[in-house]
Subunit: 495 residues, 2 copies
C-alpha cells in the first residue's frame, strides 16, 4: 500500500508514475524491466509508464507520485491509498501483431485498440506501433472501422438545427486561411458552422493560430453552442472540446514521430467532424507537386475513400479537388495571414485574389448544401455576401463574441529576398517556402513569417523583391537567412 | 541561457528534460507542441523528450533539469550553462516513411537510423515506429545492413585467441538452461566461451537470471577478459558491457511494446555476438507448436537467413533445429533451473535427461568447431568431459571467479497440481506453463516457478502430482492458482 502524491509535471499526454528506488511496498528488482504499471485505488485502474526516483523530496519510499495527466485521470486526492500491479501489454497488442503480419483487422479489433488508447492502456510507444502497423495497408472498411471507433461516445448534438456544416482542407499549402473567410460568409448566410481547427506544429500557421491573432479560440462546448445559437458561426480550437479523446492522443504521437498516414488523416478528420455533430462537410483536397497530395490520381483515390466512409457514417461529404501548386494569398504566418483575411473581408483592392476566389468557391459549395437553395447558386450567393460587407459584419460579430485578441506585432527583423534576374515567376515551392517560414519563427511566433510580394505568373525585374522575411528574434532570423541563401523556393523563367 | 540540474529519475533509457512552465529563457507557448529538444553546452548536442513542470522545488524557471540518462550523456556538472533548441524529427525519419511505403532501404539508411538511435535522437516512440515499419518486410540484405549497423564501433577483441565460441537459443522454451552446462563443458575442453546472456521480462527465467542464482553476472569487459584468460569460460549479463548500445535501446522498446520481429531478433543476436568478438557460434532453433518458431519450414527459413548474414559478416554460424515441443528439464524459474543444472553437472541419477542430452548435443557442435578435432567427435568429447566431472570442476572455477551468489530460497508457498485422471502425458503447453510460472512470480522472484514432476510420455495415476507451483508471496500465489484452475497446460491421454 502506497500513498498518492501529485507531481506537477506534464508529459504531453503520457501518464507517468514515479516510484522511489527503495519503495517499501514493491522491490525495484521485481520491476526492473517492467515499465508499465496498473494503479488501483480509484474508480477504475489507470495505467502509467514507470520512472524510478532516487530523491525523497520528489517521492518518498512510501509514496507513489503521478504526473498531472495520470493524477487527473485517477481522480483521487493526494494521500489516498493506492496499490500497484504490473501490467503486461494490453490484449489488443495481438491485433497490432496481426496487422504487422499483413492481416485485415475486424471492426471489433479497431474498437478494442481505440478503447485501450482512450483508457491510456497504450503508452505513446504502443500508439506509434499501432500507427505504423496499420498505416501501410488499410482497406476502406478498416478506415471506416477506425473512424467509427474514434468518434466514441462523447459527441455534440445540435438539437434545433437541420443541417450543420463545416469545411476542412487536407492541407500542406502555405498561407491557406480560406476557413476563416468561409466561416464569415456561411454564418452570414445563416447556416450553422461550428468550425474547429488546430494549431500547427510543422507548418507556418494552423487555422487556429491565424484566428488567434483576431480572437480567443479556446472555448468549451457550452460557449461554442451559445456562439452558434447567436451568430451561426464560430472558429475554435478543437483541443478545448472533450471529443474524440483517442484521436487527440494519436495526433500527438503522429506529431512527435513526424509520420501521418493518409488513411489515419481521413479517419481523424471525419471522426472529429462527426463527433462535432457536423451533417454536411466540404473537404478541400489541394493537389500540387509540393502539396501533401501530389497527383490527381492520388486525390481521386482519397476522394473515393472519404466519400465511402462519409456515406457509411451518415455524413454528407463533398470532397473537391483544388489547385495546390503554389502558396495561397501573400502572407505566410499567423499575423500576415490574418492581414490577408481581413483585406478580403473588407473588399480591399490589394486583397489577394486567389484567396478571395478560393474562399468564395468553397463557401459556395457549402451554401449549396442548403436544400432551400436552387442547385449551383452557392457561389453567387457567397459572392454577394462578401461584396455587400455582410461577411465582414459577421466576422466582426464572431470576433466580438469569442473575445477580441490583443493584436500581436509583426516581426520587426526583415529581409527582402530579391530576383537575381528578370523574367516571370514560373513556380514557388510550397515545401521550401514553408521551411523558410518555420525557420523564421512561424508558427511558434505569430508575428514571424513570409510576405510573398510576387506569385506565379508575375513579371519581375532583376533586384525586385520576391518576398520578405519577418522574424521576432535574431536566432530565428539567422536560421531563415541561411536557408534562403541556399534555395529561396522561387523559379524565375525568362519568358 | 539556463543552468543545468540533475533530477535523479531514471526513465528506462529515454532522455527526459524538465523545464519550468515560467521558464525565463524560452516561452512555453513556443514549445507547446514540440516535445523533443536539442540541448547545447556539452561536447556535442544531446536530445531529450521535454516535460513541463509547475513546481520550483523540482526545477526553477532559470534551470533545465535532466533525468539520469540525459545527465550522464551530456557529461557536464550541475550548474553548467546550457541552451536549448527545438529539434525536428531526425532526417532518417524519411527512411522510416519510405519503409512504411514498402521500399527496401539501403545500408546507408540503416546506418543513419542506427546512428540516430545510438545518439538518442530517436525517442522511444520513434524507435517503435522504426521497428514496426521495418518489421513486416525486410530483405536478407536489409537484415545484413541492420546487423552491420548494430555492431557499431565498440567491439571486443580477443587478441591471443584463434577461435572464440558461443551458443544462443532462439528461445521460447520454458526451463531451457543448456547454456550454463554448455559453458561448463566447452570451457573445460579449452575453447574460450565468453557467454553473454540477458535477464528475462516475459519468461520465467533468462539464462542470466538462472546464472545469478549461482554467481555474480554483472561484470565489465576488463573482468570478463580476465575470466576468459584464466578459466576459458564465463557467463555474464551483456547489459554490463558497453557494446551494441543501439541494440539495447531497441530491445528495451521491443520489451515494452511486446513486439519482436524475427528479422530484428536475428540482427540483434548476431550483432551482439559479433561485437563480443565471437568467431564461431551455434544457434539453437527450437521448433514446436507452442514455441516461438512453430514449423520446420519457418525454422529452415530462419536458418538460411542466419547463415546468410553470418557468412557476410564473417562469423561461422551453425544453426541447428531442435525439438521445442515441451519444456526442458524439470525446473522452471531461476532457483529450480539452477538446481537442474547442478544435477546434470554432478551426474546425479535424478538429473533431467532431456536437459543433459540437449546440452551434450549443442556443446558437441561447438567443440566440433575446433579444427584440431576430427569431424563429428564433439558429442563424445563433451560426454566424456561431463561424465568425468571436469565440467563440474570448470563450473565451480567459473562460479568462484565470478563471485559466488548468496543462494536465494525456493518459494515456500506451494501447491501440487494433480492429474484428474489416469493415463499418459500427451503434451505440455509451453505458453501456458510459462504463463503460470510468470504469474507465480518468476522471473521477478528467482525462488518462484514450477517444478515439473511429469514430462511428455510419463505414465500418471489419477491424483498423482503433475507439477508443483512455488511462490514467494500470497499475491503471486493467488494469481497462479486462479490461472492453473482454468488450464494447467497438461493433456492426459488414456493410452
Amino acid at each position: 500500500m502506497l500513498t498518492l502524491k501529485h507531481l506537477p509535471i506534464t508529459s504531453f499526454n503520457e501518464n507517468v508514475a514515479y516510484l522511489h528506488k527503495d519503495c517499501v511496498a514493491y522491490k525495484l528488482d521485481d520491476i526492473k524491466f517492467m515499465t508499465k504499471v496498473e494503479i488501483h485505488g480509484g474508480a477504475k485502474p489507470i495505467y502509467a509508464f514507470l520512472n524510478i526516483v532516487d530523491d525523497e523530496s520528489i517521492v518518498s519510499p512510501d509514496q507513489l507520485a503521478l504526473n498531472t495527466e495520470a493524477f487527473e485521470q485517477i481522480n483521487l486526492p493526494e494521500g489516498a491509498n493506492i496499490t500497484l500491479a504490473l501490467t503486461p501489454p494490453p490484449p489488443s497488442v495481438s491485433s497490432i501483431k496481426r496487422k504487422i503480419a499483413g492481416n485485415i483487422l475486424s471492426p471489433n479489433e479497431y474498437q478494442a485498440i481505440i478503447t485501450d488508447i482512450t483508457n491510456r492502456r497504450y503508452s505513446n510507444m504502443d500508439i506509434a506501433a499501432f500507427l505504423v502497423a496499420s498505416g501501410s495497408f488499410m482497406t476502406p472498411p478498416e478506415v471506416l472501422a477506425m473512424t467509427e471507433s474514434l468518434v466514441g461516445n462523447q459527441t455534440i448534438s445540435w438539437d434545433n438545427e437541420g443541417i450543420v456544416v463545416d469545411h476542412h482542407c487536407l492541407g500542406g499549402i502555405p498561407g491557406n486561411k480560406t476557413d476563416i473567410i468561409i466561416t464569415a460568409i456561411v454564418s452570414a448566410y445563416g447556416l450553422p458552422i461550428p468550425k474547429t481547427a488546430s494549431r500547427s506544429l510543422s507548418s507556418c500557421a494552423g487555422v487556429a493560430d491565424t484566428m488567434s491573432v483576431l480572437a480567443n479560440v479556446d472555448l468549451d462546448e457550452t460557449q461554442l453552442k451559445k456562439l452558434i445559437a447567436e451568430n451561426r458561426g464560430a472558429l475554435v480550437c478543437h483541443s478545448g472540446l472533450q471529443i474524440a479523446v483517442a484521436n487527440r492522443l494519436i495526433s500527438s504521437v503522429e506529431r512527435q514521430i513526424g509520420i501521418t498516414q493518409q488513411q489515419h488523416l481521413i479517419s481523424s478528420i471525419l471522426a472529429i467532424k462527426i463527433a462535432m455533430g457536423i451533417t454536411h462537410l466540404v473537404i478541400d483536397i489541394p493537389v500540387g507537386p509540393n502539396s501533401r497530395i501530389k497527383t490527381t490520381q492520388d486525390a481521386m483515390r482519397l476522394r473515393k475513400l472519404i466519400e465511402y466512409v462519409g456515406d457509411q457514417m451518415g455524413i454528407e461529404v463533398d470532397a473537391v479537388i483544388t489547385d495546390g501548386s503554389e502558396p495561397i494569398g501573400n502572407g505566410i504566418g499567423a499575423v500576415l495571414e490574418a492581414r490577408d483575411v481581413m483585406k478580403v473581408l473588407r473588399n480591399k483592392d490589394d486583397a489577394p485574389q486567389d484567396l478571395r476566389e478560393k474562399s468564395l468557391f468553397l463557401a459556395g459549395r457549402i451554401i449549396d448544401f442548403d436544400p432551400k437553395l436552387r442547385g449551383g447558386q452557392g457561389y453567387f450567393v457567397a459572392k454577394e455576401i462578401l461584396n455587400s460587407g455582410r461577411a465582414l459584419e459577421s466576422m466582426n460579430r464572431i470576433i466580438h463574441a469569442q473575445g477580441k485578441a490583443p493584436q500581436p506585432t509583426l516581426g520587426h527583423l526583415t529581409r527582402d529576398i530579391v530576383a537575381s534576374e528578370s523574367g516571370y515567376v514560373e513556380s514557388i515551392d510550397n515545401t521550401r517556402i514553408n521551411r523558410i517560414g518555420v525557420l523564421a519563427g512561424a508558427s511558434q511566433n505569430p508575428g514571424a513569417g513570409l510576405d510573398l510580394l510576387k506569385k506565379v505568373g508575375d513579371k519581375v525585374e532583376q533586384g525586385e523583391t520576391l518576398f520578405r522575411i519577418h522574424s521576432m528574434n535574431s536566432i530565428d532570423f539567422g536560421y531563415a537567412n541561411t536557408a534562403v541563401d541556399g534555395n529561396n523556393g522561387y523559379v524565375i523563367a525568362h519568358h
